[in-house]
Amino acid sequence: MSVAFRAVQWNRAKLIYDGILLAGVALYIGTYLVLAYWLDSPKDQPAAIDLRIRAFGSCAFLMLTIILSIGPLARLDRRFLPLLYNRRHFGVLTFFVALAHAWLVIEWFAVQDALPNLYDELTKISDYAKFIGFPFKMLGLVALLTLFLMAATSHDFWLVFLTPPVWKGLHMTLYVAYGLLVMHIALGIMQGDGNLLIPAMLVVGFAGVAVLHLLAGWRERVGDRGGASGRDGWLLVGPPSSIPDKGARIIAAPDGERIAVFRDGAQIGALSNLCAHQNGPIGEGRIIDGCVTCPWHGYQYRLADGCAPPPFTEKLVTYRVRVTGGVVEVDPRPRPPGTSAAIRCD
């Protein structure tokens, strides 16, 4: 892959994913508005716009909650992996739903000729010293700008240009945006509406996401304590049969970096556990068509040398492997990406 821009390539799976996403958003907003009109029909135009503001705003919050749950859920249970494949499409759609929410807020002020009030609300410096009365719209605006940054850099062009570690670090600011969004709702609509559903939605959403992330992090921390060392500092993996055929065992080097030890029949090889695409957990993937395949987006590498098959050019760091006394051992010192290192243990 080069750094040149290439348009998003849709395939059947992505089209189905996006179709379900759009249908879900339309269904949520449609149901919300129908129910709201049925329960208490709005009396005037601003009240009608206000309903749409709430529908789009709550939809954006729910979508962000789901997006942030997908990562830890996929780490805790592989059955959630399909949700991860096109998570970026989910994120971009969330930005547009949030943008519609912000646009409706402007419209709400505009139809009442009260746009200067919105400006005053955002620029009254003394209010920023208050807690109740804080210009909560600014919190939403910062969260929206963060979502825009995520959406604008979601294309693979930016992933390659920035490099996966920097890109991933940048996209982790989404967590802060989620916190800002919770406070935007808590200091905004929750203060003016006695409905208990709003605090309940915030507690269930945020606490659920936080617990999932902490659980997944704790589980990974246990696995990162480092493998047992054999002679010369090589790491003990176990007998070849302990590595699933066409699968891998993941071990941690003393410095904590993960190594994926794959077995393809009698061939054993060790690669970095970080996919060159998005730093996905390559060791959680399988060997498909003779190539190690990342579970996140299907990027493939040869087990023998960690190189992607032509015409692709990605390369993974490899590690030397040996079998001593029937036990597979791995040298934790990385070899240059694309260096042959796999062995046969017939």
Partner: protein, 47 residues
Amino acid sequence: MTRSQRSAHPILWTVLALAVAFGFGMALSLRAPADANTPEIASEVRI
């Protein structure tokens, strides 16, 4: 995720969860009673 990102992850979430829990708890406890929320002018309406 790289090792440093995996390390930062639980720290970031712990700090974020505590900060948001504190802010949310304050916002909930300081919330005005329901009958005191009747807006009078557009700029006071919270949406």
